[in-house]
């Protein structure tokens, strides 16, 4: 098979829809188009049946019952609904929320909004390997703590948090436990009962399903109550009004089923590809640094800093490969990734980071092509890097008084 360019290695951003998922979805656009909330005819009943089957498929992936799945438009909405919904419902009980500095913006910015409304939020620091230390959760909890929100796996550095240990601590403290599980679900085992999770955010398009559909797992036993954030026809047991997106829900269900049945073999394959990529690069390029834990990491993630080579300049050289960088020289602030900063990566190194996200459809051949390309571009860009030149001359870059701008 000949290599097809460009190569997609940004599977943390989104994934292509698996053809088997597309196939499952298609009839629901045309033949089976009913509104799942229509009770008076077969069009509605058939759609409803498909939606309930998908609920069970998504529930099965996380050890939950289909009855505990609430459909949303995506993980951002799920995070908003979980956090704001808990905060609003429990505001008479307490006003303290705990989360971590490396969470997704959908969690952080929701918490910031709540801070403006009078809630106290603790943003826990993380260890140098990127993981939340469960003891910091324990130490931060007070009798005012109503919610703890910690992600399963990080979207930039792929670090997997000790969710089960954190869950036990949260439950002991009597708070509600929300997990943004978007990046981990379907890739590593995640069981809402083992981790004592009350609420979990899920997204279809990170697991080879369609975009625009997500879910919030809401525990039924014991029942977790949240205040709806979208009002209307009272769909989803009153927690999220709005006509259900039946084709996408069917697709999400199929994607969840495929992820569940193929997780073990896929994880093994992705891990091997990731290690091939890492070894291929690190054996041929000096001064590279892996960001985040290698031990507790999503199998398809590699986040690596190439000293003396700015990330965006690097991306431009990798134009046939879709990856992303922790450098943010397009943003007005010029600030690099807050996740890398939180794990103690210095700003200059954060600017040199590249995130590779391997997925279901990547091949060994593609990995080998990317290794050669990366090695060549780093070499070329180091030749034109004044920092590399100074480092070669033995000049300590920290001894220079750089003019900040």
């Amino acid at each position: 098979m000949t290599l097809k360019l460009p190569i997609y290695m940004d599977n943390h951003a989104t994934t292509p829809v698996d053809p088997r998922v597309v196939e499952a979805m298609l009839p629901y656009f045309t033949e089976i188009f009913g509104n799942a909330a229509s009770r008076s005819h077969s069009f509605g009943w058939t759609a409803e049946k498909a939606v309930e089957a998908a609920r069970d498929q998504v529930g099965a992936l996380i050890g939950a019952s289909g009855k505990e799945i609430v459909w949303t438009s995506g993980a951002t909405e799920s995070d908003n609904l979980a956090i704001k919904g808990v905060a609003e419902f429990n505001k008479d009980r307490g006003n303290h929320i705990i989360t971590a500095q490396t969470e997704h913006k959908a969690v952080l910015d929701t918490c910031k909004r709540l801070e403006k409304e009078g809630f106290d939020v603790t943003y826990l620091p993380v260890e140098q390997d990127g993981r939340v230390n469960p003891e910091t959760v324990r130490a931060a909890m007070t009798d005012k703590t109503i919610l703890v929100s910690i992600m399963l796996a990080n979207n930039e550095i792929g670090t997997v948090n000790p969710i089960e240990e954190i869950g036990a601590i949260v439950k002991k403290g009597g708070a509600i436990f929300h997990v943004d599980a978007v990046q981990g679900v379907g890739k590593i085992p995640f069981d809402v009962n083992a981790a004592r999770v009350d609420l979990a955010s899920l997204s279809a398009h990170k697991m080879y399903g369609p975009k625009g559909i997500g879910a919030l797992y809401v525990r039924r036993k014991p029942r977790v109550r949240i205040t709806a954030q979208i009002d209307g026809g009272g769909h989803e047991r009153g927690m999220r009004s709005g006509t259900l997106n039946v084709p996408s829900i069917v697709g999400f269900g199929k994607a969840a089923e495929l992820s569940r049945t193929e997780m073990a073999s896929e994880a093994k394959r992705l891990f091997a590809l990731r290690e091939r990529l890492r070894e291929g690069i690190q054996s041929r390029v000096t001064d590279t640094y892996i960001n985040g834990s290698m031990e507790h990491r999503l199998p398809g993630n590699l986040n690596i800093s190439f000293a003396y080579v700015e990330g965006e300049g690097m991306l431009m050289g990798l134009k046939d490969v879709a990856v992303s960088s922790g450098s943010a020289c397009t943003s007005a602030s010029l600030e690099p990734s807050y996740v890398l900063r939180a794990v103690g990566v210095e700003e200059e190194m954060a600017h040199t980071s590249i995130r590779f996200g391997l997925g279901r459809f990547n091949t060994e051949e593609e990995v080998d092509y990317v290794i050669d390309l990366v090695v060549g571009k780093v070499k070329k860009l180091r030749e034109i890097s004044p920092l590399y030149e100074m480092a070669q001359q033995g000049i300590d870059l920290k001894s220079i008084q750089w003019a900040a701008h």
């Binding site: 300049g313 431009m316 034109i384 008084q401 750089w402």
Partner: protein, 150 residues
């Protein structure tokens, strides 16, 4: 983000990459930006005794627009007098490379690098005229630092 064809062309084929001996009395070195900000440009000018820029070299740590801005700057200054080179404005670089607003700071750095190199050259000439140079100040830094006010 889409880069302009000219930026891509300079990125793929950067002009005048390299370094001159920074201790050469005819060489002025400008080093601007900071690693923590994601951009560092080093621009060197070889200026003859008539004040004409005979040659220019650069090295840049930064995005494609930063590399292209400095590459273009070295191309432009060659053959210019000091005064002409001092007259290069970042807006000319923006225009030539079709830089989007988020990349304007790259052009500012390139302008600052030219001015920094000329300032370094002038400082060298002055200290040479005033007598033997003091024992190599700032050997560790080796190059002038210049405020890049963006």
């Amino acid at each position: 983000m889409a880069y302009s064809e000219k930026v891509i062309e300079h990125y793929e084929n950067p002009r005048n990459v390299g370094s001159f001996d920074k201790d050469d009395p005819n060489v002025g070195t400008g080093l601007v930006g900071a690693p923590a900000c994601g951009d560092v440009m080093k621009l060197q000018l070889k200026i003859n005794d008539q004040g004409i820029i005979e040659d220019a070299k650069f090295k840049t740590f930064g995005c494609g627009s930063a590399i292209a801005s400095s590459s273009l700057a070295t191309e432009w200054v060659k053959g210019m007098s000091i005064d002409q080179a001092m007259g290069i404005k970042n807006t000319q670089i923006v225009e030539e490379l079709n830089l989007p607003p988020v990349k304007i700071h790259c052009s500012v750095l390139a302008e600052d690098a030219i001015k920094g190199a000329i300032a370094d050259y002038k400082a060298k000439r002055q200290s040479a005229a005033a007598g033997p140079a003091p024992s190599a100040p700032q050997k560790a830094a080796g190059v002038a630092t210049q405020k890049a006010a963006t």
